[in-house]
Subunit: 186 residues, 2 copies
Amino acid sequence: MKTLTSGEIAEYCDVNLRTVIRWIESGKLKGFKLPGRGNNRVLVEDFIEFLERHDMPIPDALKSTANPSILIVDDEMPLAKSIQRVARRAGYESHIAIGGFQAGIMLSQYQPKIMTLDLSMPGMDGYSVIDFTRKQSRYKDLKIVVISALDHISLERALDLGADATLQKPFSNHDLTMVLEQYMSM
Amino acid sequence: MKTLTSGEIAEYCDVNLRTVIRWIESGKLKGFKLPGRGNNRVLVEDFIEFLERHDMPIPDALKSTANPSILIVDDEMPLAKSIQRVARRAGYESHIAIGGFQAGIMLSQYQPKIMTLDLSMPGMDGYSVIDFTRKQSRYKDLKIVVISALDHISLERALDLGADATLQKPFSNHDLTMVLEQYMSM
DNA sequence: ATTAAAAATGTCACAATTGTCACATTTAAT
DNA sequence: ATTAAATGTGACAATTGTGACATTTTTAAT
C-alpha cells in the first residue's frame, strides 16, 4: 500500500505544496490524513487515477514498479511451456496458470501486462473470462491475447468482447514474439 | 487474538516506525507493551478501529477482519442465491462467483473469511481449487466449505486436500447456518 | 481586443509532525 | 544455545500544515 506525501506530489506535478493540499481538501484528489496533525497521504493508485482524469503526464517513477510479466493461461502444459520459452527468449518473465481459478488468483497477484488465453480449454469459458476481466476497471490496461484452434468467427467474438489480439493455432513462434513485443513495449 | 507489531503497522501505513510508536504513546492508537523492554503490540481489531476512525485505507490483508464476507462459488445461480439468502439471514455479507476465474479474482479482491465451493461444477476441478488455495500462504486463514452431491469418499478427499468442512447435498439451511456462524466468529 | 471580476496558485514565517541515525536490547528463527 | 532480524530510544533534521496576503491565470462581458 504505497503512499505519497503532499510534498512528493507537489514535486511530481511541479506545483506548490499549498496547491496540492487544496486539491485534496476540495476533493479533487482523493487522500487521507495521518492522525498526528493531519498530514496528508495519497495512495499511488489514487494519484495515478487523478493524473489520468486530468490528462496529466504520469511520471516514469510511478509506472508499474514491478518488472512487467506475462500470464499464460492454458491447461495443456506442453503448449504453455512452449509459450513460456518464446517469452523467455524475448526477455520476458512469465507465469503459467492451469485453469481459471489459478488464472484469477495469479492475475491479481502478478498484475501482468499481458495475459495469453487459450479459448479451447475444456470446461472453462474463455469468453466469460474476457468479458469479466474487461468489466473490471482494475485490468483495463491488461492486454488479452487469445490463442485458439477455433474458427474465425470465434476469434472475432473474442475480439468483440474485448480481447486485444488473437493467434490461430498453429501459430509460429515469430508471430507470438511479435505480439508479445508489441504489447510489452506499450 | 491476533496482534500486530509496531513494525507491521508502520509497513501497513507506509509510515516510519518511530511515528507508530508515537501514535501509541500519545494514546491515538491503542496498544499494550510486552514485559521485556516494552515492545509494542496492537490488537488487529484496535488497529482497524484506528484506521476507520481516521478514514485511513484498510490494507487488503486485513479486509477479512475489517469487513468479513463470504464468497459463494457456484455455477448454479439458484443454489448460489439460496446460499446467499441463508448467509444474509445470519447477518453476513456475501458475493457470488460463477466459475473459477471469477472466484480467483473475487477471492483476492474481497479477502473473504469463508469460501463455499461446489465440487460438482462442470468443467471446473474443485479439488485443484482447494489444493492451490491451500498452498498459498496468503489464504491460510480462509475457511473452505465444500458443498457437493458427491459421495462420502469425494468429500473425504476434499478434506484431505485442506477443506475445512463439507456439506452434502441436499443440506438444510440450519446446517449451513451453523457452519457459517462457526467460522465467521473465529 | 480590453478590461474587470473571479478563481486558482504562489509566498512566507512559524509551529507541529514525521523522518533519520546510531546503538542497545529484545524477539524470533535455526 | 546461537544467530539474525526486529524494535525502542534520544537527539536532531527535514517535511508538512496553516493563515494571510501577493500573483497569476481564467472567465465573462463589453
